[in-house]
Amino acid sequence: MMTVTDRSAYPTNRAAGIKLSKLTKKFGDVVAVDALDLRIEAGQFVTLLGPSGCGKSTSLHMIAGLERATSGTIEIGGRLVSEVPPQDRDIAMVFQSYALYPHYTVWENIAFPLRAKRRRTSKAEVEERVRYASSVLGLDGLLDRYPRELSGGQRQRVALGRATVRQPAAFLLDEPLSNLDVQLRLEMRSELKDLHERLAATMVYVTHDQAEAMVLSDLVVVMNGGVVQQAGTPLDCYNNPANTFVAGFLGEPGMNLLPGRLERERLFVADGVRVRVGEPLPSVVGRAVLGVRPENLALGAAGDDGITGTVRSVELLGSRSLLKVVVDGQTVTASVPPVVGVGPGEEVTLRVTDSAHTRVFDADTGSSLTVSPPAPLPGRHDTLHRVTP
């Protein structure tokens, strides 16, 4: 990617904040998004993360004005835009399919937003801005080509060029990298991060890829079933999941979740499990779910406190191995050094490397019972699902 040092072509940053209040979308009887409250600060990179059908794309489409909200309000830059058509919301969007206009060249595609009647951009300015955007994205030699003559990565850049050619209040990105192969996806991910830093723009990004969310975001909003499960910094969501859904969804593989009983003295027990859990924890005794990440488990010696079971498989990943151990019918995964020295069928004990890394969840609601130190949350979610004692 070409580096452009002259930024004078870009006028002052116009990034604006976005506020969603009780935003709801129903399709017939199906609630796609349920009373979404979210405040996004100007210049923030926010990711809506979740599995297919969780309502993240619908939420983005409502912000764009492409989908009409059933109820609730949307504000962009302090202006109520719930009833404003997309063309008047001052946003730019990158679609999963790129949505490049097939009968226009790359130059025409990038210039398209500037040539809209309502923008009244002079020819000279269009020329200058297209040249700037295309040079930033390394598209200089491709301006006369048609989208069908471009590779996936080049199309992706054109879509970004079309979005960044003007300075909208916010950029909306709907799984923009999901059609790229792995190598290109990693490359474009870094370029997106650079782009955000350079433009200092408000970006709302939708993905089901947690690695993208972790790398890119200031704020991650984890959604499931149309409901926000947790909103926080990537690290906070990873380290202090608000509930079992977030715990299992974040991480590759996700957090191990074992049902059992919390006894006195912070001792968690189940068949084959005896683990001392970390503080602080409300003084509860009874049914609970233990959460521990694979990287916080290590092979222990027989007789140690920990999780005891039979090795099902060892998956070598290169720098690490995933050790899958069956404990009372449930598979527990440990991320261990590549050479483990055990094989399928052997009985092993996995010890928790640091009890501070364990999490305990309510057995009925799935909410976290572990009280974590409050982390700074930019644009913190109003209805953060963090359980307090």
Binding site: A64, G65, L66, P85, P86, Q87, R89, I91, A92, M93, F95, S97, A99, Y101, P102, H103, F112, P113, A116, K117, R118, R119, R162, L172
Partner: protein, 271 residues
């Protein structure tokens, strides 16, 4: 005989069947009257003459040609504007009865047009639309519009909705997005549907002969029948008329051939 030779011979035969009558018509239209039915028949006119074309001019066939052109262009315009708008609505909007309407349009295509001729004539007579300047374009549009709706709807279905959404986000109204993105995107189907509408109107004889009788409204195919008398045919002017009447469809096909095949295929095969 090799497979290739057989194929070439077959192609040659088909070509002769298609082009032969056209060449013969052209040659006949240029022959002096005495040479047309000579035995043995001469392929090339000797000498070539434009007398038959001049005769058409004297008989006022120019006016009939103009009528055919106006009727056909009006049909194309009305069928495309109405049909494409309906096709777009059926593709993009879900409304009560939209499915029924689509089935209704398809069902309409299965009714033989000529079976409706008599009732239509009675109806038009009653409402005072018989033998007027709008009679034929109205009937042609009614005849072609189900096909236009079907072809354009299928094309719009294949056009990703994201393109229009992207255009509105980029600052264009729905109408501007349709003009800048949707219509160019649907060009193959629009051209194919337009060509179909043109050919239906241009080639029609029965409807024009049934619904109009004034000489001022006479179209080219009807006018040419006046050169076929009870006691014999005037082959020279008849063939000159046929040559003139063949030119527009041939030109249409040559100019738009890449869209015509693609357009109907896009209507046939989704995506």
């Amino acid at each position: 005989m090799t497979r290739r030779t057989l194929f070439t011979t077959l192609l040659g035969l088909v070509l002769a069947l298609v082009v032969g009558p056209l060449v013969w018509s052209l040659a006949t239209s240029l022959k002096p009257s005495g040479q047309i039915l000579s035995a043995p028949p001469a392929l090339l006119p000797d000498p070539a003459t434009l007398d038959h074309y001049a005769r058409l001019g004297r008989e006022g066939v120019g006016r009939n040609l103009l009528n055919s052109v106006v009727n056909s262009l009006a049909t194309v315009l009305l069928a495309l504007v109405g049909g494409a708008a309906a096709g777009y609505a059926m593709s993009r909007f879900r409304f009560r009865g939209s499915r029924f309407l689509l089935v209704f349009f398809i069902a309409a295509m299965t009714i033989p047009a000529y079976s409706l001729l008599l009732p239509t004539q009675l109806l038009f007579d009653r409402i005072g639309l018989l033998d007027s300047a709008v009679t034929l374009p109205l009937l042609y549009v009614a005849h072609v519009i189900p096909m236009v709706v079907w072809v354009t709807k299928t094309q719009f279905d294949a056009l990703p909705i994201e393109l229009e959404q992207a255009a509105t986000v980029d600052g264009y109204s729905r109408w501007e997005a349709a003009r800048k993105i949707v219509i160019p995107g649907a060009k193959p189907a629009l051209i194919a549907a337009g060509a179909y509408a043109f050919l239906v109107a241009w080639n029609d004889y029965i409807t024009a002969a049934t619904m109009t009788s004034s000489p001022a409204l006479r179209t080219m195919p009807v006018a040419l029948t006046f050169f076929q008398g009870f006691h014999g045919r005037e082959w020279g002017p008849l063939m000159a008329g046929v040559v003139i009447a063949t030119i527009p469809p041939v030109v249409l096909f040559i100019v738009f051939r890449r869209y015509l095949v693609g357009g109907f295929l896009s209507g046939a095969i989704k995506g």
